[in-house]
Amino acid sequence: MDLPDLVHALKRLLREPLLHFAVLGALLFALHAAVSPRGTAARGEIVVTRGQVESLATAFERSWQRPPTDAELAGLIESWVRDEVFYREGLALGLDRDDVVVRKRVGQKLEFLSEEATDAAPTDAQLEAWLAAHAAEYAVEPATSFEQVYFDPARRRESLARDLERARASAAPAEAGDPSLLPARLESASPREIESRFGPAFAQALAGIAPGSWQGPIESSYGVHLVRVTARSEGRAPALAEVRERVARDWGSARARAEKEALYQKLRASYRVTIEPADPSAVTAAK
């Protein structure tokens, strides 16, 4: 996380003359209350509940892995009271309003609440329906096992075609290749894995190679290759049991999004939203 924006915002806030005025006012008021003879001008009551104390102690323990000492707990409580006092005074001054951090945060917490509230376990029927509707995302990918021998065109130059021809005809083509960091073989590799290591052209060409013998040359991002596909399994649609966790995850995620949107729409419907246009004479109401 970055500080700059936050610090920037704070600094700007602290330079607001209106704020100085308000804070000064509040201080005068507090001073007046403090020195007034009866001293009863209490701003309100702060009750540190047993639950709050427990919560402070628990939070401490969860970070430091031991309970706070009495002195530490007293310090935590005092610090909580201090925050509470400033927080309440700030609220009283309306400092929470038009504050992008507070607005975002509070709104976010409401979203979290609604997510928690609507987080329900799916039925099999719901998951089956989801799987059927999004079959492509869960398809078991085709897998290819293959060996490859790399030929570096820059090194071979004119002899490249001849070298490839010879190598393909030989008993051990691997011996004829050039050294490379490319893997000499991949087992049960997905198209995505093949593409990420050899580039898209190679992945595409390899898909057209029949299993069995050494074939090629085919081109990659690096040069040319002889390849031998040793095994290949086609893609297929999985049963729900095979992908249940992923389906449940994605179903839940989509549902949460939909319900958050539904909550927003319902809440929004209870407001009359008016957007003032640039021209104040033509105010329109949007429902």
Partner: protein
């Protein structure tokens, strides 16, 4: 007491030693470093094969690319700047799924990541989960019981329960117990639940993690990303450490130690943006200003195996004022004018901000303290604040919502404090951490990070191998799998070499394979740092192998002729007609003194390609100012290999 603690540390370290991958035969080094404990056992990596050269291999066969630094709307500052994407959106995006950005633009990664760390913050959260779960204490209230039933019914009923709850708040009829903080469930647990859902061992790793955001003074960046090896069950036992508790990194290390003792799990921390620390990231004293001690150095080395050398707020690897002869450091993604709040730097600060200098100072400190406090390997991340780890030059979604693709973004103020400004074009489209692990799982990747078998990239998926030993020969570059020679005759990046045999100098096997969709390679360099006879740290950069050596002979300055440039700025394209797709070499240190401490790391430089600003200029048809760099040379930095007499 201290003996007991050290013993515990030792046992903990030994028991977590993943595979001893760095071990070197004559190692008797301190117990604080995973890489130095177990004696070498090459058979662990490479058994003598039969016909197949590949049977019995147990070493990492491919690097896994990821981002250890992503913020979402759940980070207060990201939310504040308008981000709406959640950790779930961020993970989905990193995996390669298409999402809609905060500004409404559909976006997808060109090359999906293999793993990610969502490094948000934690905070308290409401009681609703407890109502849903039917906590008996809450169920004694009939209203809450009814809400509970409605929530379980789901769908419309659940939404209705929420509306009722909101209504009752407005009416002042909210049950008192609903505010009792002891029922609060933390957002942390929500975060870890998401990571758990998207972590698919072997396919995509979603690490649990968070950022500890220490801004000492007026915004001196001492941030650390904490990465968990374990899952939710352990992570949930303790809330993350926050800077409300302490801004002192030593307290973070204490917290990590206590966490490991309590849960039996493992943590590591990755500091970043030394460039914005105003001289504090690698300062030669403690946070409180005391002299460094051996114990302090042990702690730092133990908890912080990696340092993030590049991200969207610039690079922290090397600075032209510290390395004046390094032509690739000059003008390369520098954010060097101030700290996080752009408070200007004073003379003398920069030398404690960049990793290369810290690695050198680490050797000096090791001489004084007996332990190297700055024994860092290389990492990189984005530090994006819009949930999109979109660091590709041609697909750059920037750091903030405000600079997601728009024609004006290059010219606007990215960061502004009074008249101190960083412009939009200065933001860097970077970076990624490549991890040499044996499998794509939390445990395997984390173990590799811990033993520093990693390299940082500026966003490219270049593959880099780097091994050090005393017996590499040019013939090792000719074998079908250089890694077999690498692991059987030496140690990989992040490892240690000890006491050179008489008459022998360290040799390095280094190789790079370009990103299948990226630019060709210009050259591989080895950066050496060492302590000279007077105990002063020195550095030198060696060009080890480069493309077209017949044509690109060394000039009068001792450097290969420049690789050239094929970038067509009008169309933001380039061709791979210069450079090489792959480079490999064995290099022997020509000026080795077996009595001198040293480190070596490789830097791989690609040919010039368009920077994100060039893609913007072409796409939006805008003309940018002369000060804006339009061409970049993507690069990678490996973790060092250290030599200790």
């Amino acid at each position: 007491m201290r003996t007991v603690t050290l013993l515990a540390v030792f046992l903990a370290v030994v028991s977590m030693c993943p595979s001893g991958a760095h071990a070197q035969a004559k190692s008797t080094s301190p117990p604080t470093d995973v890489g130095e404990i177990q004696p070498a056992n090459p058979a662990q990596f490479y058994k003598e094969p039969g016909y197949s050269p590949y049977a019995g291999k147990h070493f990492p066969e491919r690097p896994y690319f990821g981002d250890e630094h992503v913020h979402t709307a759940w980070s207060a500052d990201a939310g504040m700047s308008g981000a709406t994407l959640t950790p779930e959106d961020a993970v989905r995006f990193a995996r390669g799924e298409e999402v809609v950005s905060t500004t409404g633009q559909p976006v997808k990664l060109g090359r999906p990541l293999d793993w990610v760390v969502i490094s948000d913050h934690s905070d308290g959260m409401g009681v609703i989960a407890e109502i849903r779960a039917g906590n008996p204490e809450l169920m004694s209230d009939p209203t809450q019981k009814r809400w509970h039933d409605m929530m379980l019914a789901g769908g419309d009923e659940a939404t209705k329960a929420m509306l009722e709850l909101i209504q009752s708040q407005a009416n002042g009829t909210l049950p008192a117990s609903i505010r009792d903080p002891k029922f609060a469930k933390s957002i942390w647990e929500k975060n870890t639940a998401i990571m758990e859902k998207y972590n698919e061992p072997g396919r995509f790793t979603a690490f649990i993690g968070y950022e500890w955001t220490s801004n000492a003074g007026s915004g001196d960046n001492l941030h650390r990303n904490v990465v968990y090896r374990d899952g939710k069950d352990k992570a949930d036992q303790v809330l993350p450490f926050t800077t409300f508790q302490s801004e002192n990194p030593e307290d973070l290390w204490k917290w990590m130690d206590a966490w490991e003792k309590k849960t039996g799990g493992k943590l590591l921390a990755i500091p970043h943006n030394g460039n914005l620390s105003n001289g504090r990231m690698f300062e030669l004293r403690t946070f409180l200003g005391d002299p460094l001690t051996k114990e302090w150095a042990e702690q730092r080395q133990r908890w912080e195996p990696l340092f993030e050398v590049i991200q969207m707020k610039g690079q922290s690897e090397s600075h032209p004022s510290l390395s004046p002869t390094d032509e690739f450091a000059a003008g390369y993604e520098l954010w060097d004018r101030g700290n996080l709040t752009l408070e200007p730097k004073k003379p003398g600060m920069i030398q404690y901000e960049y990793l290369r200098e810290a690695l050198k100072n680490g050797l000096v400190e090791e001489e004084l303290l007996g332990v190297n406090p700055f024994k860092y390997g290389m990492a990189a991340g984005t530090d994006t604040h819009n949930g999109l780890t979109a660091d590709e030059e041609e697909n750059f979604y920037c750091k903030f919502v405000s600079c997601e693709p728009r024609p004006e973004r290059w010219s606007e103020d990215a960061v502004k404090f009074g008249d101190r400004v960083v412009k939009g074009w200065e933001i860097t489209a970077a970076g990624r951490t490549a991890v040499w692990a044996t499998a794509n799982t939390r445990a395997d990747l984390w173990d590799a990070m811990k033993r520093r078998e990693t390299y940082a990239t500026s966003g490219t998926n270049v593959v880099v191998r780097f091994f050090g030993g005393f017996d590499f020969t040019p013939a090792d570059t000719k074998t079908r799998s250089p890694a077999i020679a690498g692991y059987s005759k030496g140690v990989p990046m992040g490892g240690d070499l000890k006491s050179a045999p008489p008459g022998k100098a360290p040799t390095f096997l280094v190789a790079a394979l370009r990103d299948p969709l990226g630019g060709n390679l210009d050259r591989i360099q080895i950066v050496k740092g060492w302590l000279d006879k007077r105990g002063k740290a020195q550095e030198k950069i060696y060009d080890v192998v480069w493309s077209d050596p017949d044509i690109r002979t060394k000039g009068a300055n001792g450097k290969p002729r420049p690789v050239g440039n094929t970038v067509d700025l009008a169309n933001a394209t380039w061709t791979n007609t210069i450079g090489a797709p792959e480079l490999i070499a064995v290099w022997k240190d020509p000026s080795f003194d077996r009595a001198q401490k040293a480190f070596y790391y490789a830097r791989v430089i690609e040919i010039p390609t368009p920077r994100w600003t060039a893609y913007d200029a072409a796409y939006f048809k805008v003309k940018m100012g002369k000060e804006v760099p339009m061409i970049t040379q993507e690069r990678a930095w490996t973790s060092p290999i250290w030599y200790t007499p």
